[in-house]
Amino acid sequence: MSEEALRQLEAETEGYVTAELDGQLFGLKLTQVRDVFLPKGICPVPMAPKPVAGLLNLRGRIVTAIDLRACLGLPARDPDAPSVAIGIERGNELYGLIADKIGNVLRPEPETFEPNPVNLGAGWADICAGVYRLDDGVLMVLDLEGILDLARPGGPQLTAA
């Protein structure tokens, strides 16, 4: 592909940082992602909303780790299982979205985008903003606002848990 064509493609298609959770592929817009890091030394916060896994120190800054598994109502990760965090910055705050595994950066064709299927479970519908049909499976687009709302006390779903 020529360089120009590539630029063309970049302009037309949105890049997604992808990550796997329980075998399902999720994506976050490339422009929203600050960095990807290994979530080490998470210190749990007592009485925090369930999706908040805890706080960690990333090069001197405090990152709030949010476990996507908890957001999606998936069973908790085995403590020894590998995990990865997608770093995002909102205002002056850093958040790390914890997934099982990081994937490639994908640029799916815009035509393959569809809104959330209507029969998606409530937890999923809250944090997904549509889906791309890929050749081998689907890419769920993560909705950052939805995730942060969920992590906020009084947010939908998990507060009672």
Binding site: G41, C43, P44, V45, P46, M47, A48, P49, V52, G54, L55, L56, N57, R59, G60, R61, I62, T64, I66, G91, N92, E93, Y95, L148, A151, R152, P153, G154
Partner: protein, 892 residues
């Protein structure tokens, strides 16, 4: 345009704020031409800039306001009406500016009401039959406008506030006669670009900028970056420690120093003078006086005192509230004041000054003072106290009740301060940032509120505690003591219907399990019930009027923490005030003691009263007061102890880091070398094995004492069982039933200071003679060597009587330091006796006390003491000595 507008907004808002202040001053000093010129210049600047930016509403309004101002400049009598109209226009301008900030354009609306009012005032003021003159003046005005356009343009381009009157002064001469110029000028205002050619013809000379505006975000970012730098530096130091390669050491040491310097610099850049928060006050008070029909004068001092901008934001509202309060409730109407033989004008005095790492703000009025009887009545009405309880309380204790929620004694709720926001909110807001509020009031004389505020919120002293495998930081200013409760002792935990209570000095204190409160998963190794078993660690917390015990597993250490705000998703967790990164890189939550108490449901009033009783009791039995002691092992089998308050820090340093100089052992500590002393029999660690060290701070100079092992921190009264003759030991005492040797820090610090002492010998000839009066052997033993080491000649007295005998014998001293709490004749009585005798009346007296309260300080002052120092506050004592006896340079 956006940037230009943003800059205009900031500058104009600042100008308006200053105008507010200046106008209020002007009203009372209408004959000060400089003041008037100042105001004129400010209005000009605003007007010119508005015209340049095509802000019609603002331009018209400022023009009208300026017309009136110019009458004043021409000598018209200043009326309250006129000033009110101008102030009202300033308010309107602020409204417009807010709209401008929001929508990037002026909000729709008309200001004709104000313009008509202003112009009517201006016209009415013009001399009879002088319409022409008015017209003339109007022209001049407009010409001034034109000049302003240029000046404003200049101000924006050159990013500096220009001196418009230079340009202004020039123009009228040229153009005064030309009637047509009016139109021309109008055109120029509406088409400001046309003024471009005029630019540069007489631009005032530029001054070199002495300060620049920096975005808060930029500062915050720098702060974070520096924190990261500190962390990276620490990692490097860590690596360096493990390597033998000495090539690194020097540059690394420099890097370390520079990093510290940088951190200090950034902290300083965040500081603002406190008068930033005072600027709006004169205006507010002026409006209040008009509204209330009172005459009030505000005096301020110490406005240049600096504090962190974040803190400044926090105290703005409480401070304003207290001032409104003073104006509304404190100061009476002129008639009432006259009837009482006071001046008709009431005074509110605002003072700020630094006191260590705190600043003190005093808000005083010369009003009627608090109505003690009414407070008493209210207490009974609200069932806070019974008649008998009230009878036991002193006046100042009664006064404290006005900080209770819903406690308003104003007979009628007024519009000014009776808004349902009480002093309890003021107190809560101040305490949130680790400050305190006191008050002192005397009937008919007035009331003084005293706020003590930390200089910065970014760094705080905290106790690191651990419970159920989780660590927390507890702000030290809320910790009154740490207690080890043990079964079958006087200090034990008792259960009342499953609710644990700490029996402490004959009182019961409700105890809450931190882990239970926070629903921490129970640690299997230490099941929760066991915390209440044989031995329990309870932190006695004081959060405002609440007092309670917090049960934790262990108190790890005190640490200076860098406070970071918690993430927005955690905002609802009010029991945490923030979070912090510890030295080992882990992140822990900082407990908010007041919110935690609320979570636990600690009752405010009862806790408050029992606290008062407890304090009264403590005051009655001064020698029984327990002191937190650090227990440790250092050679031999007997435990050693030192008062925790004397220890600056606990450190652990690998043995190989200890270097031997000719003078003795030293280690690298912070930015320099610290002398390290080994107590007899202490095992020297080698290689990577860690050597525990107690660090003592002697006026910024550190001395380390190497020990074997830190055991614990406990509470125990300092009653010596056996007095020691061994140098370095004060004596033995029983701690938890076990014999413990109390070490004499001054002995060791003194050793660390041998060199300084030698240097001082030359000055020995002019030694100051000190008398130390203290019934406690412990303190005499602790302070005497210290004072001697600082070059004073010390005489000891065990009681006030002994001291007074010396007086009778004719002994003279240069200074007397006396304990306040002593059996028999106490410090106050002693001071009064001493002052009566002409032989001693000139000798300065310094008070020492284990307790600190404004009442005590005031009492001590009244008794004749010139300084008041906490017993463990060695640095303050030394500073006080230096201040009182400046002619003896030995202590420097």
């Amino acid at each position: 345009m956006d940037e230009l507008l943003g800059e205009f907004l900031t500058e104009t808002q600042e100008s308006l704020e200053r105008l507010d202040v200046e106008l209020v001053r002007f009203e009372s000093e209408p004959n000060d031409p400089e003041l008037l010129n100042n105001i004129f210049r400010l209005v000009h600047t605003v007007k010119g800039t508005c015209g340049f930016l095509g802000l019609d509403r603002l331009a018209k309004l400022t023009h009208a306001a300026e017309s009136l101002m110019s009458r004043y400049r021409d000598g018209m009598t200043v009326s309250a009406d006129g000033v009110s109209a101008i102030l009202a226009s300033l308010d309107r301008m602020n409204e417009i500016l807010q709209g401008l900030e929001r929508d990037q354009q002026e909000p729709a609306g008309s200001d004709d009401d104000l313009i008509v009012r202003l112009l009517a005032l201006a016209e009415a003021a013009a001399p009879q039959g002088a319409r022409e003159a008015v017209r003339d003046l109007e022209d001049q005005e407009t010409l001034a406008d034109m000049a302003m356009v240029r000046a404003g343009d200049e101000a924006i381009r050159g990013r500096r506030v220009s001196e418009p009157e230079e340009a202004e002064a020039r123009l009228p001469d040229d153009l005064q006669a030309a009637g047509l110029e009016y139109l021309v000028a109008e055109e120029m205002v509406s088409e400001p670009i046309a003024s471009e050619e005029a630019q540069g013809t007489d631009a005032p000379g530029r001054e070199a900028a002495q300060s620049i505006r920096v975005k808060v975000d930029t500062l915050e970012h720098l702060m974070t970056t520096v924190s990261e730098l500190v962390l990276a530096r620490n990692q490097l130091l860590d690596i360096d420690r493990r390597k033998q390669d000495t090539e690194w050491k020097a540059p690394l040491h420099r890097l370390s120093g520079i990093t510290n310097e940088l951190q200090r610099g950034i902290m300083k850049a965040r500081m603002l003078p406190i008068d930033r928060a005072w600027q709006k006050l004169p205006r507010m008070l002026r409006d209040l006086s008009v509204e209330l029909g009172k005459s009030i004068e505000l005096t301020t001092s110490g406005g240049e005192t600096e504090l962190d901008r974040q803190v400044l934001e926090f105290i703005r509202d409480p401070m304003t509230h207290l001032i409104r309060n003073a104006a509304d409730h404190g100061i009476g109407t002129p008639a009432r004041r006259r009837a009482l033989g006071k001046s008709e004008t009431g005074h509110i005095d605002l003072k700020a000054y630094a006191e260590g790492d705190h600043i003190v703000i005093e808000i005083g009025d010369d009003g009627r003072g608090l109505d003690t009887d009414r407070i008493k009545a209210k207490c009974i009405e609200k069932e806070l106290l019974s008649e008998t309880e009230i009878g036991q309380l002193g006046e100042s204790e009664i006064h404290q009740f006005i900080f209770q929620p819903g406690f308003s004694t104003a007979a009628e709720v007024t519009d000014i301060s009776g808004r349902g926001v009480g002093l309890d909110v003021v107190r809560a807001n101040i305490e949130v940032i680790g400050g305190t509020v006191d008050l002192k009031s005397s009937s008919g004389q007035g009331t003084v509120f005293r706020l003590r505020i930390p200089l910065t919120l970014a760094i705080a002293a905290a106790l690191i505690v651990e419970t159920d495998g989780t660590r927390f930081a507890v702000p030290q200013h809320n910790v009154s003591e740490v207690v080890r409760a043990k079964r079958e002792t006087d200090c034990r935990i008792e259960m009342i219907n499953d609710a644990p209570q700490l029996r402490l000095r004959g009182r019961l204190l409700p105890v809450y399990d931190l882990g239970g409160l926070l629903h921490l998963p129970e640690d299997e190794a230490v099941p929760r019930g066991r915390l209440l078993g044989e031995m329990a660690t309870v932190i006695v917390m004081e959060a405002g009027v609440r007092r309670y015990g917090l049960l934790v597993e262990t108190v790890l250490r005190p640490e200076e923490i860098v406070v970071k705000p918690k993430a927005s998703v955690l905002q609802d967790l009010t029991m945490f005030s923030g979070n912090t990164i510890l030295g080992d890189g882990s992140v822990i939550m900082i407990i908010d003691p007041a919110a935690l108490a609320a979570l636990a449901g600690v009752s405010e009033i009862r806790a408050d009263f029992s606290q008062r009783e407890a304090e009264t009791q403590e005051a009655r039995e001064p020698e029984e007061a327990p002191v937190p002691l650090l227990l440790f092992k250092a050679g031999g089998s007997v435990r050693k102890a030192v008062p925790l308050a004397l220890v600056a820090r606990l450190e652990e340093i690998p043995g190989k880091e200890i270097e031997v100089c000719n003078e003795g052992d030293v280690i690298r500590y912070r930015d320099g070398l610290m002398p390290l002393l080994f107590m007899d029999g202490v095992t020297r660690q080698a290689g990577d094995a860690l050597q525990p060290i107690l660090v003592f701070d002697d006026e910024g100079r550190h001395v380390g004492l190497a020990i074997d092992e830190i055991i614990d921190v406990v509470e125990a009264p300092l009653s010596l069982e056996i007095r020691s003759v061994t140098p370095g030991l004060i004596g033995s005492l029983l701690v938890d039933g076990e014999v413990t040797e109390l070490i004499d820090i001054s002995y060791y610090i003194g050793e660390g200071l041998t060199q300084r002492l030698a240097a001082r010998e030359a000055e020995a000839a002019k030694t100051a003679r000190l008398l130390l009066v203290d019934d406690s052997q412990f303190f005499r033993n602790m302070l005497a060597p210290l004072l001697t080491a600082h070059g004073y000649s010390v005489t000891l007295a065990e009681s006030a009587h002994e001291a007074l005998e010396m007086k009778e014998e004719g002994t003279r001293f240069d200074l007397i330091i006396s304990d306040l709490e002593m059996p028999g004749l106490d410090g106050f009585a002693f001071a009064q006796e001493a002052k009566k005798d002409p032989r001693w009346s000139e000798t300065p007296l310094i008070a020492l006390s284990s307790y600190s309260s404004p009442e005590l300080i005031a009492r001590s002052r009244a008794a004749g003491f010139i300084e008041y120092v906490g017993k463990f506050d060695r640095q303050k004592l030394m500073a006080a000595l230096k201040a009182v006896l400046p002619q003896w340079g030995a202590a420097a």
